[in-house]
């Protein structure tokens, strides 16, 4: 019988990652990765002065 394993949060990375996997007979049969955080910076950028874009997109990730 398939067993579901979830690891959330994945640490030592930044970005709120979650991994789900389905294990059947000691083998991973399915796996899903998902980002658990969304800010919508693409939506926020719309209609703004293009010269400001680099300051916004730079904040996607601070690492």
């Amino acid at each position: 019988m398939a067993k579901r394993i979830t690891v959330d949060p994945i640490t030592r990375i930044e970005g709120h990652l979650r991994i789900d996997c389905e294990v059947d007979g000691g083998k991973v049969t399915h796996a899903w990765s998902s980002g658990q955080m969304w800010r919508g910076i693409e939506v926020i950028l719309k209609g703004r002065d293009p010269r400001d874009a680099w300051l916004f997109t730079q904040r996607f990730c601070g690492v």
Partner: protein
Amino acid sequence: MRDEDEIVRESAGGPYRQIVARGVSRRDFLKFCSAMAAVLGLSGTFAGKIAEAIEKAERPILVWLEFQDCAGNTEALLRATKPTIAEIVLDVLSVDYHETIMAPAGKQAEKSLEDVVKNHKGKYIACVEGSIPLKDNGVYCCVGGRSAIDIAKEVCGNALATIAVGTCATSGGIPAAAPNPTGAIGVKQALPNVTVLNLTGCPMNVENLTATVVHFLTFGGLPATDSIGRPLFAYGERIHDHCERRAHYDAGQFVKQWGDEGHRQGWCLYEMGCKGPETFGNCPVVKYNEGTSWPVQAGHGCIGCFQPEFWDKMTPFYRRLPKVPGFGVEVTADKIGAGVAAVAAVGVAAHRIARAIRGKQDKKEDTE
């Protein structure tokens, strides 16, 4: 004969034991204490009191929560170019939970957090990085299957104090910029009844976090704040008033175009959109990367990242501020905002007139 360092090393406890174990000399430690007294706006005589407090302090427990963030504040905390005493002082905090740097993952990670809340209720410090989204039941930020607001309520609600690091955690920051697609807000807005100290900045200056921790160890409490919960020692004065290019502003020497003669000469960046006249912070004094530089020194205007909602209120970043407060070191953070606009308009008008008169006089002198 035993030297002073050795004697202190043996008798020390708490964080100080960790500091001496890292090979920091007594002299360097005292220098650090003096520097911290200066950042906190205290007289030099407080250095001894700070040193004594750090020597005697118990190791404080800290948890670091990341919500709608970019880890920029985490980087500010971790990425010193070389190990500094400040880094070591922050290191002596017992950081029991920090997703970006902790070894356990998944359920084990969450257990570390649960243990702190359960075993050290009311005694730990919670640092929060990133905003809290409320729209659609908080689905836009979840950790371990729980929403950010749910985690914040429990962890910040049971903490001795919460420090909101960065502009996202203090007022929503970039996720809260129009049209704020996720309904993002700051920690204090999400949890009005919780004690929150706001260290704004994109990212915050780690020197200010260090000074806050030192203040906490020395005086057993959080520093005095302005009306939006920011410590006055760091946010009490206007960037414009301590700017190294201020003399050029007063002399009417402005950069008109990137790379022009004025830019090469280090003239004032006001006309290129610098937000220093409306931003409160100690950037020009404390600077970044161990006092190496700060944006204006590097040749770019201030973008006003210490001010709440700067992504909407300070943009377009390259447009000149329409109203600039007048001369002097007279404006405080609490006066800025709606109230200062009128004063600012008068101030800038007076300044323009003064400049115009000066200009005419110069011309007159030329022709004479």
